[in-house]
């Protein structure tokens, strides 16, 4: 049997808004093997961050089971959760706004160590901070530097060092490189890969950059309006996308090469409102293959080993 670090079953997160119920995450299930990366992609507002945060219980899920390292963490109280959360960390998109500007690099990295009482004496803490800085490639001379004096790539390294401080097994990386330019992006992606090998980390990697997710993930789950519409090993997903939304998504990636232009599938219409959604396929209104069968929600079904799709019209595409 596979060694799963994480199992998510029927996860739901609904928000009550003035205009009605917003189904941000709606019945999402998946598993993540230890040491592997699951990429989570989909358009803005489809529920990627909410999924990540619900799993860490940084926000309370409306329903569903989260089994982390064999523990049913959805049943834990807030204080019990605090112990588990050391093993589960989050890296944010925006290295600029997620760091306290009044703290130095070393203070920022020491913060979670001190808050969680992982080390007692100042010299122990300093030693651990120095070790973490070297792990993420921050030069020792930056010990007393403030984040505003650093470039985006180094600030993101601080965020990574803070996450690693707890010696986690699992990290949700929420758009960790979206704010960085291509060269610095490459540095950070390499670092995350090295750390994964070194510490056998498991990642959920959230992004809307499909070329990055392809490079980085073992499996990719495509979300659309709160639901996973397709999930497959990365190579399989890119080689053989089945859901009409996935097809459109992949065809829309601009490729930095000249030559024959690809056939591009342009999705018509606007993103459907996530509030008070009818019980039909979430992609119904924008799908060019939509038919009567799509007026009920299609289940996510395995069509070949490891390749899952939620679409009622696969036979007619």
């Amino acid at each position: 049997m596979a060694d799963n670090i994480l199992e998510v079953k029927n996860l739901k997160k609904y928000f009550k808004t003035k205009r009605g119920v917003l189904q941000a995450v709606d019945d999402v299930s998946f598993t993540l093997e230890r040491g592997k990366t699951l990429g989570l992609v989909g358009e803005s507002g489809c529920g990627k961050s909410t999924t990540g945060r619900s799993i860490l219980r940084l926000i309370e899920p409306t329903a569903g089971e989260i089994i982390f390292d064999g523990k049913e963490i959805h049943k834990l109280s807030k204080s019990q959760m605090r112990h588990v959360r050391k093993d589960m960390q989050l890296i944010f998109q925006d290295p600029y706004s997620s760091l306290d500007p009044r703290k130095t690099v070393s203070q920022l990295i020491a913060e979670p160590i001190i808050a969680n009482k992982l080390m007692k004496t100042k010299s122990e803490v300093d030693l651990r901070v120095a070790e973490l800085m070297s792990t993420v490639g921050l030069a020792p001379r930056l010990f007393n530097t403030y984040p505003h004096e650093l470039d985006g790539g180094r600030r993101q390294r601080i965020g990574i060092a803070r996450a690693l401080a707890m010696r986690p097994q699992f990290i949700v990386c929420d758009e960790p490189v979206s704010a960085l330019d291509v060269s610095i992006q490459a540095q950070i992606l390499n670092l995350l890969k090295e750390l994964q090998e070194q510490f056998e980390l498991s990642y959920i990697f959230i992004t809307h950059d499909l070329s990055v997710v392809n490079h980085f993930s073992d499996d990719i789950a495509v979300m659309y309006l709160g639901k996973i519409v397709e999930k497959a090993p990365s190579e399989e997903l890119f080689a053989n996308p089945l859901h009409p939304y996935t097809k459109a998504l992949l065809s829309a990636i601009p490729i930095p090469e000249l030559g024959e232009k690809r056939e591009r599938i342009i999705i018509k219409g606007e993103i459907t409102s996530p509030i008070n959604m009818p019980d039909e396929c979430r992609f119904y209104k924008r799908c060019s293959y939509a038919c009567d069968r799509c007026k009920s929600i299609p289940p996510l079904e395995e069509v070949s080993p490891g390749h899952f799709v939620a679409c009622s019209c696969l036979d007619s595409i």
């Binding site: 601009p254 490729i255 930095p256």
Partner: protein
């Protein structure tokens, strides 16, 4: 973008642009001797790492660089026949929007939350075309439909629109008076690929329809390949390589351009390790005397400590780099 531009119909003729920011911490040399010429109807992609001076160059063309701390110096800046260096504020206001117009990166800050989107487009039309409010309103609705938003939504406020729709409203405003030169500063970074594809498609159609010239500022070389005719690669406040797409993508000559392409994930080999450009980002307060890329350049030698002059290697392809003249020099582009 060519050596023999005298007879060409230029929408932009810019020579020796220098912009520095005089701040308390020191002087930031943001743009350093930049030339740019754009023929009518052409689209040029302006790429380069963060802090390279792309936005500052664009703001200089609109004469919108904040002063202080900005100091702009320039030998020549002619936009659609207007000498931008000797012009009254009043004329400038007319030129902005009509001759040159800019799409700013963040659609949220470009729109005013207290006016309906229709009124915001109409206002720009009224200012430039001198038509009545009623006519401007009608034209605003046409513009909305042109960018794919139903006209009846003109009475809605920006917060009622999704990110992609807001960005299209910003584009509608920028295009309302059919500018001759459109600058788009990362117009789609806030958008998803599917919406991005819609917006790029739209810009392409409008450009064909109105012969608009375009400066597309972006980090995304894929977008450049898709929308542009020419590319200018910036590093340290100047263009280090420029040419047609074919020149720059397939016959890369500058080591920085090489590094930029080689940092991209390889689509065919998922397991390949990424190769970022080595060394530290340039500090524009502490510019090296010669080539700004030399401290990070794998090909650098002592000749690179001298200022680099622009050299044409063909009719269309120019670089600022002395390395390619050395015997045996060749750029190492990874297989993609």
């Amino acid at each position: 973008m060519s050596q023999t531009e005298t007879t060409k119909d230029l929408v932009l003729d810019l020579e020796n642009l220098n912009v520095r920011f005089e701040t308390e911490d020191g002087i930031c040399y943001a743009v350093n001797g930049l030339d740019m010429k754009i023929e009518r109807g052409k689209a040029i992609g302006l790429v380069g790492e963060t802090g390279a001076g792309k936005t500052t160059t664009a703001l200089s063309l609109l004469r919108l660089v904040p002063d202080p701390p900005g100091v702009v110096e320039c030998d020549k800046m002619v936009i659609n026949g207007h000498d931008m260096l000797n012009i009254s504020i009043k004329e400038l206001e007319k030129i902005r929007g009509k001759d040159i117009s800019m799409i700013f990166q963040d659609p949220m800050t470009a729109l005013n939350p207290v006016f309906t989107v229709g009124d915001q487009i109409a206002e720009s039309i009224m200012l430039h075309e001198g038509v009545s409010m009623a006519d401007a309103q009608r034209k605003a609705i046409d513009m909305l439909e042109l960018v794919g938003i139903p006209g009846e939504r003109a009475g809605e406020y920006p917060h009622e629109f999704s990110g992609g729709m807001k960005q299209r409203v910003v584009i509608a405003i920028a295009l309302a008076c059919h500018p001759q030169l459109l600058i788009a500063d990362e117009p789609t970074t806030a958008l998803d690929v599917t919406i991005q594809a819609q917006v790029l498609d739209l810009m392409r159609n409008l450009r064909q329809q109105y012969q608009t010239s375009l400066i597309m500022i972006t980090h995304d070389l894929g977008i450049v390949a898709e929308v542009c005719d020419d590319v200018a690669v910036m590093y340290g406040g100047n263009i280090v390589e420029e040419g047609t797409l074919e020149d720059v993508f397939n016959h890369t000559l500058h080591p920085y351009t090489e590094g930029l392409f080689n940092s991209l994930p390889n689509i065919n080999d998922r397991k390949a390790k990424l190769t970022p450009i080595r060394g530290l980002m340039l500090d524009p307060m502490d510019m090296p005397p010669g080539c700004p890329f030399s401290p990070r350049c794998p090909y650098a030698d002592e000749k690179c400590d001298e200022p680099q002059v622009k050299k044409y290697v063909s009719e269309t392809h120019a670089i600022r780099c002395c390395a390619y003249e050395r015997p045996g020099f060749h750029i190492d582009r990874k297989e993609r």
